[in-house]
């Protein structure tokens, strides 16, 4: 008989394992006795030891940047005029600060941080994205409530990129922002068609900034795949980090607006 068949025969054999309650109880008693014996030492060690994590504010800084910086939005009081800003007021105010009162270089660097923040907040690395590094002087235009047919897009950023061969390339970013409101059915496609008429697809980006993703918005985005969704809170978070990284000079009023936008989001917004 081969070894294999011997083993199979053994395996098929019935191996009765009788239940031995006493053996189980004895084992448990031994463990329990040992536990009780060592319990005072364990309790004493637990009380003496510091079992809590050490506090470090660095954990917050990794997510939101330098919170001790006075220019950080979290350190600014939100705007409190006794009523909540409406969506158009909010985007107009944002456009105002991105324009930087006509200070071209400040406007460029704020917009550069803003655009980087849009991509990062959407979870996209900024490697192959539109950038405001080589903007043709005088070409950057920031417009709130830009007319698109009978509708108005919340925010449009447009500029010409300095090309190495001496030619200029038009760039366009459209941003539609929503706080607790649904995107209407035709809005996104109308704005995309508008962008399509103005610049080629590689020279444009369309962002939908929302309070939180709802099933309705997700369905709209399914039909409008060029639109990149992101949340306001993610945008503000990334904007703080990008502004610090590009060393954008602090501005108290701009910080107040960012804090206000942060607070306009619901608790469900992340």
């Amino acid at each position: 008989m081969s070894k294999t068949s011997e083993l199979l025969k053994l395996a098929n054999h019935h191996w009765p394992i009788p239940w031995n309650k006493e053996a189980v109880q004895n084992t448990y008693r031994r463990i329990e006795r040992s536990m009780l014996l060592h319990m005072p030492a364990l309790i004493s060690a637990a009380r003496a030891g510091n079992w809590l994590p050490d506090y470090s504010a660095a954990a917050f800084m990794q997510l939101w940047g330098n919170l001790t910086d006075h220019g950080h939005a979290f350190n600014a009081p939100s705007i409190n005029w006794g009523f909540n800003l409406t969506e158009p007021q909010c985007t107009k105010a944002l456009a105002h600060f991105l324009c930087a009162d006509g200070n071209a270089e400040l406007s460029r660097v704020r917009c550069a941080a803003f655009v980087r923040a849009l991509y990062r907040a959407a979870g996209i690395s900024t490697g192959n994205c539109l950038k405001l590094e080589k903007v043709e002087p005088g070409s950057l235009k920031v417009e709130a409530e830009r007319a698109v047919g009978k509708k108005r897009i919340d925010l449009a950023l447009e500029w010409k990129e300095e090309a190495t061969n001496g030619e200029s390339d038009q760039r366009l970013i459209l941003i539609e922002g929503k706080f607790n409101h649904h995107v209407t059915k035709s809005q996104l496609s109308i704005y995309r068609q508008f962008a399509n008429r103005h610049v080629k697809s590689s020279a444009r980006a369309l962002f939908l900034v929302i309070d939180r993703m709802t099933s309705h918005t997700a369905r709209m985005l399914n039909y409008n795949r060029e639109w990149i969704p992101l949340t306001w809170r993610a945008l503000i978070r990334r904007l703080e980090i990008e502004m610090a990284s590009l060393e954008v000079p602090p501005d108290h009023d701009f910080a107040r607006l960012r804090k206000t936008i942060w607070e306009m989001c619901t608790n469900q917004s992340i």
């Binding site: 994590p53 504010a57 917050f60 990794q62 910086d69 993703m213 949340t231 978070r237 804090k259």
Partner: protein, 200 residues
């Protein structure tokens, strides 16, 4: 020697740094199913670290309130044998020391006052806020209808009526830059309130 409450570094940061405060408030409002979709993989652990630190701030805040209560209310209440602390089973759920009640409201400790004509209760509470520092409250009620035993605060040096049937201490335990709170006046206030209620 003057009595001083030293806030842990975490609570001091929370009270004195609005940036940290905004971050912590946001993190403590998150549900365990929430996740910021803009995060990259290399930031995931940072997110969980930040949640842990926010929980640490809340835990340390609770520890600071318990210490504050012991320092301010403890000495005067322990002097009176007529006061017997209620078990948690007799607490109103909104006064239990849950994370939510302590973080969003106050730390409450409730006592039964014996020797009164009817059943009577004494409510004490402490809370710390960035604006006011350490604030103490007191209330007392009797009978099934919860009639307040507190009349107006005229003649009292340290107390003013609060909107919720409590007395609120007028003097604050303001937080100094080192995160310390001097408790002398609050101790006197506690003595004054208890003497007023128990004599009634």
């Amino acid at each position: 020697m003057s009595t001083v409450l030293s806030l842990p570094e975490s609570v001091r940061d929370y009270m004195q740094d609005s940036g940290v405060r905004t971050a912590v408030d946001h993190l403590l409002g998150q549900k365990t199913k929430d996740f910021p979709l803009d995060l990259q993989w290399e930031e995931v652990l940072s997110f969980h670290d930040a949640l842990l630190m926010a929980a640490k701030v809340r835990r340390d805040y609770i520890a600071a309130l318990m210490e504050a209560w012991e320092l301010v209310w403890g000495p005067v209440l322990k002097k009176h044998s007529r006061l017997k602390e209620l078990p948690f089973s007799d607490y109103d759920p909104e006064a239990l020391p849950t994370p939510e009640v302590i973080w969003q409201d106050s730390l409450y400790r409730i006592f039964e006052i014996s020797g009164w004509q009817q059943e009577a209760w004494l409510y004490t509470s402490v809370e710390i806020s960035p604006k006011d520092g350490l604030v103490i409250y007191i209330a007392a009620e009797e009978g099934a209808k919860n009639i307040s035993l507190l009349s107006d605060t005229s003649g009292l040096e340290f107390w003013q009526p609060d909107d919720n049937g409590y007395w609120k201490c007028k003097v604050g335990g303001s937080i100094n830059v080192a995160g310390k709170i001097a408790l002398e006046e609050l101790l006197m206030a506690a003595e004054e309130a208890i003497a007023y209620i128990l004599k009634g």
